[in-house]
Structures are given as structure tokens and as C-alpha cells.
Symmetry: C2
Subunit: 449 residues, 2 copies
């Protein structure tokens, strides 16, 4: 199967197709060009040999759905991506107009070049390549390309729940986000979940003078801190009853994967802006992939300006974001937090500001290593498998709502500048991405499910 | 001694003198009208029979000094006040121009009406009244009227230290600030001191993403809270070694005075804007007069706006103001705080933003009760003695630098709106203040020192 030869023969036309898509605005937050872009994506799917293509409405922006059916007995890959983009931001910081793609020094510059049009187009061009090389696909392929990712995938959960039968698959395959530094691909098997809460206490109707009223009116900053110290010990242990109960230890296989991951302590230090960080590779990935956090994103009470202001603040507020790991359920953890606060400081209000379930696909699945090899062969760079990212993405929509394993294999360079001016995609990553998807499809036919 | 008759006979001329002073701008922060006002004050002293009057320079605005000498053997009262005023603030909020005094509904409206021109002029007019009634004063009287009070009395300590001999007295007598609600006068014997520190910790060079870096980079808000919890227990006890060592218990006489003070729990609740306050009179005054505070005036770290921002803050900062009681020395307490932080969290910086010594004159001094009676007779309202105020004033300049007992007897109404638009003084308080000073002078001659 000479995918690379087909890709080389079509370099220019594939790039033209991508440029056409990048040329079409599709800013979901501003509802600008969305429907035109959805139509264009349908055209690209049809033009690449996907037999069945349809537009499926949601409450905001439509999903572009495509399906290439081989046989009911063949494995099925569901490719997920999004055609909407972020607003371009400060236009004067762009070196070329965001919706007029341009190649400079081996990179395609345009809004959406990396996030996600360049990556989803690589997946679509892979179907075209595979068909030109082999005449037909060896597995069923479905495409779900949504138009609401950059506004939080607000309808994705309910869409997937509603169309569970239609979307049935053996693997959800996503290319989004950046690769590792120096162009190393990696296969991501999961994400941490998230629970974001705000605890607030209003003690008095106004700030009081710290002299005239000092010792008379209680201080809400102290009260909130006292509460926080019942929630977490000075050595960092979360003390909320039940918080750790469902935390799963990493498997042996996951620990093996971690041992193979790259690690450079100096780079970590630069990356977090803290020269004093000390940790081993195993610690680093264990803390990042398998341990929850209990982080303060903000604490505010009273006066924060220059110099002295002598007040007893009227209120205090803390924002806590917890990254959750398997199998912590954000709904359950929220109940635990609420119960804890009700018990220790009933005056303190608890507000949920966001949540996401953790999600992790098994490292033992038979297609994980073949996918790694497919990326390694296509990019010509050592390729890794990371059991989970530290951040949070709505991956549980696949693993929990659809009930299907999910892997993310980013094709974009680490400095893709997504969400920023001068977003870009390294030209060769587009082509290596096409080849990776072809190889993944080829491998999937060998998998015994 | 019919002081009241003399006052009644001079109502209009006394008010004219006060209006002339209120008419003269004297904004120390803006150096506007200061010297003109100082000259005017000298004129008022001379015109009231003070034989020796002089202008004494400091590094910023001059002190107006006056002295009426009777005999080396007679007791000496040093009257302290200030002729400078706050800037008028938002001019559109004034119902009449701040430097054009006007009487409406029994109140004099003008910047400085209460703070402090109306009160210091009552003291000066008292000399005029006494001399008209009796022909001569029974005690030596000195006047120290400074021009830097509203910019923090920055040179007062060194001025008093430099002129210790000249300022020698048996009592420092000040009328400044507001009386109790409902026009009840009180004699204040002291103030709490103050130590204001800022603790800060910068952990990373920038805010980190709470997902991608969560558990990798330490959180400065947690670290600062952990430190704060080594400094104060959840039940409010200060845990810094030595902090309480020099705290003096109230004397029996002081506790008796407190029992006589007015107390209305509902009014306290309204006053602090907190309906849930529960305390007895004894608790209230003990906490306010005799116990130090360890208050957080501000704690800021990370994001404090609406909604969720997922960061690990780069830094955290807390402002602590401690009100100190006798005999806590702010220099010593600062060393204790610094040592404590160095021991428990050496990364945290400690900055001193302000300090003031506590000061309290003995309730056993023979002239305290006569002064109370003088105010009670003059204002015709039950008058109290409070061993200390909760707030801080530079009273230690008298009790420690000069080594002289000091009492404060405010003549201004509780709603004088000092430092605010529409500052005012109840007209009758001006006249009752004059009478009070006359009676205090009369009483002082009976005191065996
Ligand atoms: Zn994005
Ligand atoms: Zn003032």
C-alpha cells in the first residue's frame, strides 16, 4: 500500500482543497459563515468518496455527518473533528489575513490551519488517498464534524446520546491539539475531568474599619481559610470524605507507557516558570495523569492594591478547580464538597461553575500500539503513548455516552498558535497526517474485536 | 464662674471668628493655603489673650505654638489640635461650597467644621471666655496646633522629641473626632496601636494552566494559607510565639469604667452591618479596648472576576493589620512576625506598611473624673470614660515621647462627616465645647499633682 506515493502525486490538489476550506470563515461564536462552511465540508466528504453525507441539525450549528459503509461485520472507526473556528482576535497582530491562507517558510498560516480544519481535512484527504491507492476501504468509516467545538461543544453530549445507534463504532479517532515538542507524535488515551466550584461568604453588609470594629465583626477571609483547611491538609492531602474513594491506581501497562515517555526536568521547569521544581519522570506523569488536583484558581477578599487599607472585608471568595481522575464522578464529588461545606461552614455558599468527566481508554486495547506505529512510520519520528493528558476535554462523550474507546493523535505542531494570531500548521504535518490516518485505517482491518 | 453667660453674650462674634478660619483653605496634602491659615491661627491665639505665640517650622508645614504662663508651680495643660484639613473631595456632592461656611438646620457646614477647626477654635475661644469671666487663667496653658495631621503627622514625633522641655505639661488635652451617638460626650484615655504587614509569595514566573500543569507547580495561595494557619488557630488565637507576652490585663478601675459605658447590641449590629453578632457589654469593650487583633485586610491570589478561569496563580499576597494593646511594641511584634515567617515559610517576603504604638493613660489619674464632669455639665448629657478606643491615633507621642498623660474629649457630633462631603458641626456643640474647656481649666487648678 503506497499511500505516500499517492499523497506526493496529489500534494497540490490536496493543499488547494484545504485552502478552500480555510478561505471559508466559520466563527461559531459569531455565527459567521457556519452554514457555508458546513456545506463545503459535505462537498469535501462527497468528493473524497464518502457515499452517504448529511447535515444534522442541533440547537445551534449543524453537525456534518458522513459514512462509508463496507460491511456490517467490519470494524468501524468514527472520526471526530470540528469545522468551526475561534474568532481571529486582534487583526493587527496577524502577518497575513486570517481567512486568506498563505504558506510561509513551510507553514500554512490561517485561522483554523491547526485547530481543526487542517487536521480534519487530513482525515478526509486520507479517505481519498486510500481509495485511490486501494480502490476501497477495509473498514467502515464514519465522520462526525461538529460546528460548536469552539463554543464548548454545548450540544455534543445530547447529540451523541440521541444518535447512539447511528454513531456506533469500535474506535473514536480524533486529531486535534498540538503534538509533543520537536515534532514527536503521541497517542493520547484519556483526559482528566474537572469540577470548578466557587465558595463565597458574605459576612457583613460593608467593609468595616479594622480599628473601630476590630474583634467585633468576624473576618470572612479567616473563616473561608479555616474551612479550606478542613478540606486539605498542609501536606496537600484532600480531606473531604470520599474524595479519593474512586481513584483508580494506574495499571502495570500504564506505568510501562509512562516509563517510555520523554522527560526533561529543565524543560518542565521552563515550561512552568519555576526553577525549583524537583521530580522524577514517574512522579511527573503520575501526578499529571493519575492524581486529582485540588487547586485554588483565585482567592479574593478585601484590599489588594498598593499600600495599606485598614478594613475588615465584608466578604471573601475562593475559586477551586479540581482535576478529576478515573473514576471520580464530578456530580458525586460536587455532592461531597457541598456536604463538607454544609457540615463545617454552613454560611458559605457553594456554586458549581463547570464540570467535565474524566475519561480514559484502556492501554491494553489491541489497536493502541498499531496506531502508535502508524504515526511513527508516517511522521518519521519516535512516537509515544500517554495514558492521559493533564487537562480536560469532553472525551467522556465517547467513552461514557457512546461507550466506545477513544484516542487522540494530534497532527499539529506544538507551536500551532491555536486561538492566537498567526495560527499555523507545518505543511509536512498535513501530509504526514494524511498518511497516518491511511495507516490507521489499514491496521484496523487486522484487529480482532 | 459664669462661663455660659460670657459665651451667650459672645455667640455671634465667636461664630464670626470660626467662620473666618473655615473660610481660609488649609489643605496640607495639596499645600494649599497652609501658611495663610497658620498666620490666622496665630492671630486668633493672640486675640484671645495668649501672650506668647510663635510659628515653629517643621520639614513640611509649620506648627502654631502658643503659651499662657501663670506660674512655674501651677499645673500645665497642653492643648493639641490641627489647622490643616482634608481635600474637599467630589465638589458636586457638597450642598454648599466647602470653604464658604454656612449654617443650615443648626449645623455649620464646611470642610474642617468638625475636623479640626471647629474643635480647636472652641479651645481657643475658651481662653477668651475664661479671661473675660475671671480676668486670668488659674493654670499654664500651651497650644500645639499642627499643620500635618491629615498627612499622617509625619513630623510630630520628632518635633515633640526636639522640644520636650518647651512642651512639658501635666496633661495633654485634645478635642478631635466624633462623640458617642445621641450627643453623649466621652473621655477617651487611650488608643490601640497598629502594625500593618504584607506577606507575599511569588511562586512561578507566570500563571500556569491548572490542567496541563496541575500538581506539577506549587500553588502560592495554599502555601500562604498554610503559613497563616501556623500564625493563628481556627478559634482565633494568635500562635506567633511571644505575641501575647506583653499584653496587660485591664485594671479593676478600667473594668468598672466599662461597666458604666453605654451598650446597645442592636446598635452594634447595625453599626457593623451584621445581624448575627452576639456579645455582652463586657465582651464588647474588652475585645475593643484590651485585646489585640490579627486581621486580614486583604488576601489576593489569582482570578477574582466572574466565572471560571483555570489557573495556578503565580503569586499570592496577604495584608494583615494587627491592632496592638498595652504594652505591645510594634517594633518587637514585627520582629516576632518576621522570625515566625522565616522559620515556617522562608520564601515568603515580609514588608512593613505601617505601625503605631498603643497608648493608654491611667484611669486612676485625679483629673479624669473632673474632666468627665466638666463635659457632662457643659453638654447636659450623660458623659462616659472609655479606657481606649478600638482604633489607632498617634497618642503615644504624648504618653511615650513627651511622657505626659493624654485624654481626648471629642466635641463633634457623631455624624460630623469628617473626610467626606458636607462635613459639619452642630452649632451648640461649638458653644458647649467652649464651656467644657473652660470648666476643665477651672478644675485643673484643684488637682494635686
Ligand atoms: Zn480550539
Ligand atoms: Zn481628619
Amino acid at each position: 500500500m503506497d499511500f505516500r506515493r499517492v499523497i506526493e502525486a496529489n500534494r497540490e490538489s490536496y493543499m488547494d482543497e484545504l485552502f478552500e476550506v480555510l478561505n471559508q470563515k466559520s466563527i461559531s461564536a459569531q455565527n459567521d459563515g457556519i452554514r457555508e462552511c458546513a456545506e463545503l465540508m459535505m462537498e469535501k466528504l462527497k468528493g473524497s468518496g464518502i457515499g452517504h453525507v448529511e447535515l444534522m441539525e442541533t440547537e445551534i450549528h449543524p453537525v456534518v455527518y458522513g459514512e462509508y459503509h463496507v460491511s456490517d461485520d467490519a470494524p468501524t472507526i468514527l472520526v471526530y473533528g470540528h469545522y468551526d473556528v475561534q474568532p481571529p482576535g486582534p487583526i493587527e497582530e496577524w502577518e497575513s489575513p486570517p481567512f486568506e491562507p498563505m504558506i510561509r517558510e513551510g507553514r500554512i498560516y490561517a485561522r483554523g490551519a491547526g485547530d481543526n480544519k487542517g487536521q480534519i481535512m487530513a482525515q478526509i484527504m486520507a479517505i481519498r488517498t486510500y481509495l485511490e491507492a486501494e480502490g476501497e476501504l477495509p473498514v467502515n468509516v464514519k465522520f462526525l464534524i461538529e460546528g460548536e467545538e469552539e463554543i464548548g461543544s454545548v450540544n455534543l453530549d445530547s447529540f451523541v446520546a440521541q444518535h447512539r445507534e447511528k454513531l456506533k463504532a469500535d474506535l473514536v479517532y480524533t486529531s486535534d491539539g498540538p503534538m509533543l515538542p520537536n515534532g514527536h507524535p503521541y497517542v493520547l488515551l484519556g483526559v482528566r475531568g474537572m469540577l470548578y466550584v466557587e465558595l463565597a461568604l458574605r459576612e457583613a453588609d460593608f467593609d468595616n474599619h479594622s480599628g473601630n470594629k476590630g474583634n467585633i465583626v468576624p473576618n470572612p477571609a479567616w473563616k473561608l481559610m479555616d474551612l479550606l483547611h478542613t478540606m486539605r491538609s498542609a501536606d496537600g492531602q484532600v480531606l473531604i470524605e470520599g474524595f479519593h474513594d474512586t481513584v483508580k491506581a494506574p495499571t502495570e501497562r500504564e506505568m510501562e507507557l509512562i516509563e517510555k515517555l520523554p522527560f526533561d526536568l529543565e524543560e518542565v521547569r521552563r515550561n512552568v516558570g519555576h526553577a525549583g521544581i524537583e521530580m522524577t519522570k514517574a512522579e511527573y506523569y503520575r501526578k499529571l495523569c493519575f492524581e486529582p488536583t485540588f487547586n485554588i484558581s483565585g482567592f479574593t477578599s478585601g484590599y489588594g492594591g498598593e499600600g495599606a487599607k485598614t478594613i475588615i472585608p465584608k466578604d471573601a471568595k475562593v475559586k477551586i478547580d479540581m482535576r478529576l481522575v478515573m473514576d471520580q464522578d464530578p456530580d458525586v464529588i460536587f455532592e461531597l464538597v457541598r456536604d463538607h461545606v454544609a457540615k463545617h461552614a454552613p454560611d458559605v455558599s457553594v456554586k458549581k461553575l463547570g464540570q467535565m468527566s474524566p475519561s480514559r481508554s484502556s492501554a491494553d486495547l489491541p489497536f493502541i500500539e498499531p496506531i502508535r506505529k502508524a504515526a511513527e512510520a508516517s511522521f518519521g519520528k519516535k512516537t509515544f503513548i500517554q495514558p492521559s493528558m493533564g487537562g480536560s476535554l469532553p472525551d467522556a462523550v465517547w467513552t461514557k455516552v457512546l461507550g466506545t474507546p477513544s484516542v487522540v493523535v494530534p497532527y499539529a505542531n506544538v507551536d500551532e498558535a491555536n486561538h492566537s494570531p498567526n495560527e499555523n500548521l507545518v505543511v509536512e504535518h498535513f501530509y504526514s497526517g494524511i498518511e497516518t490516518t491511511c495507516r490507521v485505517i489499514a491496521e484496523m482491518k487486522h484487529i480482532k474485536l
